[in-house]
């Protein structure tokens, strides 16, 4: 047991004396996630790497005699005359439905990333009633698949943008009418006017004062906003952890090449001890990487948001458990890759291909709006299970048991296979 720790400690020492490795372990995922988070921050201005997010719009708005805000809103997403150059039309694939239940079911089934449901009284609540009477508030429901949150987040920010403009013009109109009436010699009371106008102006600059609200709902009926840094950061961290695990496990092939493995085997040390020591070293390396990245993302978020937030959620125990199981699964995978490779170079190629695959279907590079995009093969990906669990924890949920079990089983089985393959090789020649 002591020797296992000694070998693991030696591996860590070697790793932390390798500057290139540290760069890949920490700097790269941090930079990529931060950049993507910044880009997503600007999504409402039209900069987005995504395309064709499927959404359903149910417009139940009955409108007023003059205007239907629901219709205006719908036509922004589904114009009467399609324009392929329009950025918004490229970004979303919107379809109009009439039944809100069907729309939500579509999200549940993964057909749509988001269902936007506009209530019947949407316009009437917002309509100008008379001088001095404040405008009512209204809300739009956004029903999203929380496992595919990036698309939902983008639609939400676009919706916010549209509603802000709607509210602003509505209020401006109201203010205009108020002003007209106030100027009229027939009506002398002008006192409420300035209040209404001030509120109106403030609303256009301060979203929280907006008279139109968006209610975010997910499949579990929980309101939630998504931090892009959590979304991208969790997947990126795991994606790069796969590389660390692969590199760490392949280090034994390196030791075979520079003959230090032979030297270890000529010492009175059992081969299984050597293997366990190497794997323990890799395990600690990956774990430390994930923890440090998690902390780093929190610091970046503090800089971006201007205040400190516990972006990984309020449950440190569950967070540690998931980090542990991600580490186990990644290291196990790495040990199989290393055990089946002829040399460190081959292990790196195989490991990279697997990591790219897992990263791609698991959402490290882009997220499609829906579950069905990969037809379920994302469930083969450690990136999928890990980042999904982290995102759930981040949003305050705790149903991550399945995730933990899947990754633990995967890790344990992979470890056992890797160990067995290695041990067989050591005995061969």
């Amino acid at each position: 047991m002591r020797k296992i720790l000694i070998i693991a400690a030696k591996d860590l020492r070697e790793t932390f004396s390798d500057r290139n490795l540290l760069l890949i372990m920490f700097a790269a995922p941090l930079a990529i996630a931060t950049i993507i988070a910044l880009v997503f921050g600007g999504v409402s201005r039209g900069a987005s790497p995504l395309q064709n997010i499927p959404i359903a719009i149910v417009n139940q708005d009955t409108g007023s005699a003059f205007v239907s805000y629901g219709q205006i809103f719908t036509e922004i997403f589904i114009p009467a005359t399609p324009d392929p150059e329009n950025e918004l039309e490229q970004l979303v694939d919107a379809i109009a439905l009439t039944d809100p239940v069907a729309a939500r079911a579509g999200v549940d089934a993964g057909t749509y990333a988001v269902a936007i449901i506009i209530p019947p009284d949407f316009t009437s609540n917002l309509s100008y009633v008379g001088p001095g009477i404040p405008l009512g508030t209204s809300s739009i429901e956004m029903y999203a698949d929380r496992d595919r949150p990036i698309g939902a987040e983008i639609i939400r920010s676009i919706t916010d943008g549209i509603l802000t403009q709607l509210a602003a013009s509505n209020i401006a109109l109201a203010a205009g009418l108020d002003t007209l009436i106030a100027d009229s010699p027939l009506i002398a009371a002008s006192a409420p006017f300035s209040d209404a106008f001030n509120n109106a102006m403030a609303a256009t600059f301060t979203p929280s004062l907006n008279t139109i609200q968006v209610e975010s709902l997910t499949i579990e009926q929980q309101a939630r906003t998504f931090n892009p840094l959590v979304l991208v950061g969790s997947a990126q961290a795991i994606f790069f952890a796969l590389f660390t695990a692969n590199g760490g496990a392949s280090h034994i092939l390196e030791e075979g090449r520079n003959r230090t493995l032979h030297r270890l085997r000529m010492s009175p040390t059992h081969p299984v001890t050597i293997l366990l020591g190497k794997m323990a070293g890799t395990f600690v390396m990956v774990f430390v990487q994930l923890v440090l990245l998690g902390i780093a993302f929190m610091l970046v978020n503090t800089l971006l948001a201007g205040q400190f937030e516990l972006i990984w959620g309020p449950n440190p125990i569950a967070l540690l458990l998931i980090t542990f199981t991600i580490t186990l699964a990644s290291t196990g995978l790495g040990s199989i890759v290393a055990a089946t490779a002829k040399n460190p170079e081959r292990a790196q190629i195989t490991g990279t291909v697997i990591a790219m695959f897992m990263g791609m279907v698991g959402g490290a590079f882009f997220q499609t709006g829906t579950d069905s995009a990969f037809g379920g093969i994302e469930r083969l990906s450690i990136v999928y299970w890990g980042s999904n669990a982290l995102q759930r924890l981040a949003s305050g949920q705790s149903d991550i048991v399945l995730h933990a079990v899947v990754m633990t089983l995967f890790g344990a089985i992979a470890f056992a296979i890797g160990l067995w393959l290695f041990h067989r090789q050591l005995q061969e020649d």
Binding site: S17, N258, R259, H262, R263, M266, S267, P268, H270, Q427
Partner: protein, 332 residues
């Protein structure tokens, strides 16, 4: 049987190794070796490249399993009791086997821990070893910044850590300058004189085997073809000297070679040796009394039209034994 009751610390019986090439064809690297290494001696295994020296060391250090036979170290079977056997030995492998990004001291401390040393005892032992290999002043530098000779010395140092009774050194002087080589040879002698270690030393250099060894085993194509003290081995060569004529032509005909044997008094035979590296050609004449035969040999060479560029007379040595046994040069 224990180490103290037996004169031989290492007993090798019927040891053999057949590798499988990638295409499946078998390579008999070591064939049925019997060998005893006596407590306290320096034993050299002398043989050309590919003779099977490293394969033998790998088997008796527990690194690779033999395909036949067995070896006992201090009474412990290397196959059945590897942990006990390994504790008795230190190994200096032919290739540098160190962690390049760790310092000399970190390397020594790590491997020391693999021999169950720790704490103050480990630190003290590492200090002693650094003294022996003369690298105290560079102990905190990364091994990758060392010269070839310095790496070789650290490589040796690791083999000394556990104060082994027995140390295997597999061609420890390969590829280094004369100064470092001298240092290493002195260290080997010191190990026996001062630390009473038993040394198994492999080399393809006759001079090293001659200088260091109490006994020598000559290995070729995986077989021990001669084994004994240097005096015993010289005895087998007989009184033969060698006349070595460097010549300036690609070959010498068999007829001419036979003429040396029949026409010059005291000449037993003559062979033509081509060095595959620089393609230089040597005519080697084995004669009872070399200096006496020399004038006749040169005259005959002239007669036969063989252009001689230089001449050398060598007394019997391990090289001539190898040549006599195999018909080939050991080459250095």
């Amino acid at each position: 049987m224990t180490a103290s009751s037996s004169p031989s610390l290492v007993q090798i019986r019927g040891l053999g190794k057949t590798y499988k090439r990638a295409d499946g064809t078998p390579v008999k690297a070591v064939k049925n070796i019997d060998l005893d290494i006596l407590t306290g001696e320096i034993f050299s295994l002398l043989g050309p490249n590919g003779a099977g020296k490293s394969t033998t060391i790998s088997m008796i250090s527990g690194l690779i399993p033999p395909t036949q036979g067995e070896a006992h170290i201090g009474g412990y079977s290397i196959v059945k009791q590897p942990m006990q056997a390994k504790r008795l030995m230190g190994v200096v492998p032919q290739e540098i086997a160190l962690y390049p990004t760790l310092s000399a001291r970190q390397n020594l401390e790590f491997f020391g821990r693999m021999y169950d040393m720790q704490g103050a005892a480990l630190r003290q032992r590492v200090d002693e070893v650094l003294e022996v290999i003369d690298l105290k002043d560079r102990q905190h530098d990364r091994v990758e910044t060392f010269s070839g000779g310095m790496k070789r010395r650290v490589n040796i140092g690791v083999g000394l850590l556990n104060k082994p009774q027995l140390i295997y050194m597999d061609e420890p002087t390969v590829g280094i300058d004369p100064q470092n080589r001298r240092r290493i040879l002195d260290t080997v002698l010191l190990l026996r004189e001062q630390y009473k270690m038993t040394v198994l030393y492999t080399t393809h250099l006759m001079e090293e085997a001659q200088e260091l060894s109490d006994r020598v085993g000559i290995i070729d194509h995986g077989e021990i073809i001669a084994c004994g003290t240097q005096t015993e081995l010289m005895h087998r060569v007989g009184e033969e000297d060698r006349l070595i004529l460097s010549i300036d032509q690609p070959n010498v005909s068999d007829t001419v070679l036979t003429r040396f044997q029949t026409e010059i008094d005291g000449v037993q035979r003559a062979v033509c040796e081509i060095n595959p590296d620089d393609h230089s050609v040597k005519l080697i004449i084995f004669a009872q009394r070399g200096r006496k035969a020399l004038p006749d040999a040169i005259r005959l060479a002239n007669d036969a039209g063989v252009k001689v560029t230089s001449v050398e007379v060598r007394e019997p040595d391990l090289e001539s034994l190898f040549l006599k046994l195999t018909g080939r040069a050991l080459r250095d």
